[in-house]
């Protein structure tokens, strides 16, 4: 493949190479609606023309807010191909959070699904994604798109407070796409099932642009309900899924539940098949042994990709036994996002993989993973202060701690930064939650930490815990001074109320009431590490 420097190059290349093949499809009301690469180009050209008519010029921001659907990537390509900057927003955010990001990004136009427009009623200029099919054109507006020009601003946090938008150029994104596709032999006839939200950079790069560059079809899941996923897999012959660890744990749980429900005989047979598969490391044989599982997944699965958060090695090994490879990758929104990735020929379960071509990975003396390459972001939008904290002499400081083995495989072992990574691969920034907890009546100070779940479906994933110190003065002022139990009840109730206002993944799942002041540095910053140690978390 010739080098594609911009998203406009990507759109033009794929139309020229794969025109009549299906690019995107989705089941609606019982029928798969298909968009060929020619259709995508035609609609994107018409839409780009419409953007121009509405006064959108090169560099202007166009926000995207929708559940996954084929119109999303088409609108993204249309905006980027005419030099506008796409601002993908999380469809799960609340209205004030979305408004905050729309304001920060300076978006001139919003592309929104009818469903979300009906619930949020945005008054700013907008276009309904449900209606973009009516636009049609034969050529993109004539203009040069600069590979170093901004293609997208992606907000990773600060939806409620000070927003933090990652600025990615066309070449940031496309260099990552080119790096990933060089590792896989995929092409027309392959079919990706898209399950992760498209505003997540892992999904937009690995689940949309990579397949799009190779002529691979992307099927947008009808819903995330397991029976819809399985039906979509069977009906469209899905061969690859990019998912997060929880999705694979749920698949695994579904398999075990079904075996359980079929009674002790099936359970015993399943156990012997597992023992047999352990003795035979051939994937072909394992696929035959567990043909029932493969049939359930449609019978065409080539591999699964896992990203967003660390996956339990046991999950990878369990699927390996069934003859299904899970390839783990690693990266950050700031790196467009993939830095390292396992491939079918070079796969080490438990490792995050080896760096993509052109990307350098090193460890600092403290063991922090730092990365350099064409995919490293331009910086945080309007936040040179935050950019300077992570980008030093071309090296991006990831905040993750790792090791690199003799063969160059990266293993992530911990984190320096305070960020909590949920099982769905969404970042939660403790200071953002603390900001709100500290404003609650009766709270003196707080420390929010990510705590690993020790059992169950979400084993190994992190959840949000808060250590809260009550404000005695507040309670002393009350007419009837509360006892210890009432005081704790009051604080828990306040946090419960706060939770209702927060986006689901930011909610505090456990509260520890602490009487002693939180340990702090000389600059009065809370020492999270010590809090964790003292509270035995």
């Amino acid at each position: 493949m010739s080098e594609l420097l911009t998203l406009r190059d990507l759109l033009e290349h794929s139309r020229a190479e794969f025109g009549p093949h299906t690019a995107f499809q989705m089941k609606r009301e019982g029928v798969y609606w298909k968009y060929t690469f020619n259709d995508v180009y035609r609609i994107a050209c018409g839409l780009a023309e419409e953007f121009k008519k509405r006064g959108i010029a090169s560099g202007d921001r166009v926000a995207l807010l929708s559940e996954n659907r084929p119109d999303w990537p088409i609108a993204y390509l249309a905006a980027a191909s005419m030099g506008a900057v796409a601002v993908p927003l999380d469809a799960k955010l609340t209205k004030p959070e979305i408004d905050n990001l729309l304001k920060d990004s300076g978006a001139k136009l919003l592309l929104v699904s009818r469903e979300l427009q009906d619930s949020f009623r945005f008054s700013m200029p907008h276009l309904l994604l449900d209606e973009i099919d009516k636009y049609s054109g034969s050529a993109l507006p004539p203009l040069e798109v600069d590979p170093d020009g901004l293609a997208a601003i992606i907000y990773t946090s600060g939806t409620t407070g000070a927003p933090k938008g990652v600025m990615l150029s066309h070449w940031n994104i496309m260099s990552d796409v080119m790096g990933v596709v060089s590792l896989f032999e995929l092409g027309p006839g392959d079919n990706f099932l898209s399950v992760l939200p498209l505003h997540h950079t892992f999904e937009s790069t690995a689940g949309f642009m990579c397949p799009f560059s190779l002529g691979v079809t992307v099927t947008y899941a009808e819903s995330l309900k397991s029976y819809h996923l399985l039906a979509n897999m069977r009906e469209t012959k899905v061969s690859v899924i990019c998912g997060v660890p929880l999705l694979y744990n749920l698949f695994l749980q579904g398999i075990f539940n079904e075996v359980e429900e079929k009674g002790p005989l099936m359970k015993a047979a399943f156990a012997s098949l597992k023992a047999l598969a352990k003795a035979v490391p051939s994937q072909l044989v394992r696929r035959k042994l567990f043909s029932m599982i493969h049939k359930k997944f449609g019978g065409h699965i080539r591999f699964f990709v896992s990203g967003g958060a660390a996956i339990d090695k046991e999950t990878i090994l369990s699927f390996e036994l069934f003859g299904i490879t899970i390839l783990q990758g690693y990266g950050l929104t700031e790196t467009a996002p993939i830095l390292t990735c396992n491939s079918l020929s070079h796969n080490r379960p438990g490792a995050a993989g080896r760096p993509l071509p052109g990307i350098g990975i090193r460890l600092t003396e403290q063991g922090e993973v730092i990365a350099r390459g064409p995919n490293i972001m331009q910086g945080y939008y309007k936040r040179p202060d935050l950019t300077a904290e992570v980008l030093k002499d071309e090296w991006l400081h990831t905040g993750d701690i790792g090791t690199i083995d003799d063969d160059g495989y990266l293993y992530i072992t911990g984190r320096i930064k305070d960020v909590i990574v949920s099982g769905a691969g969404v970042n939660v920034y403790p200071d953002e939650i603390e900001f709100f907890i500290n404003k609650l009546p009766g709270v003196l100070e707080s420390c929010v930490l990510g705590v690993k779940i020790r059992e169950g479906l979400k084993k190994g994933m992190e959840e949000v815990w808060a250590v809260v110190v009550p404000d005695q003065k507040y309670f002393d002022k009350q007419k009837k001074k509360p006892g210890q139990q009432e005081l704790e009840q009051h604080l828990r109730w306040e946090i419960k109320k706060l939770n209702a206002k927060l986006t689901e993944y930011k909610r505090v799942s456990n509260v520890i009431i602490r009487q002693a002041e939180l340990p702090k540095t000389t600059t009065r910053k809370v020492r999270r590490f010590e809090v964790r140690k003292e509270e035995k978390l």
Binding site: L224, K225, L250, G456, E504, Y505
Partner: protein, 82 residues
């Protein structure tokens, strides 16, 4: 509220999230007290669809905080309200 329905749905939720039924109180917050996230929430809806043949859209998940909310949505759907 129908007690049988309540018990059935409680059992179903507990099974999906792999927690004892006793932990799933009527007003226990499913997200914050039981650590359910949206993917598990959708799995609960999928199990409800399977059992009661009610197709609850994923967007309804936004309205759900507790078991009581789920029961209300299922009751509405069974009545053909939505």
């Amino acid at each position: 509220m129908n007690n049988d329905l309540e018990n059935e749905i409680r059992a179903l939720v507990a099974k999906v999230i792999k927690k004892p039924e006793a932990q799933v109180g009527l007003d226990t917050n499913l997200f914050t007290d039981l650590g359910i996230d949206s993917l598990l929430g959708i799995e609960i809806f999928a199990a409800l669809d399977k059992k009661y043949k009610v197709d609850v859209p994923e967007s309804k998940l936004r309205e759900v905080q507790t078991l009581r909310d789920i029961i209300r949505i299922v009751e509405e759907a069974l009545k053909g309200g939505k």
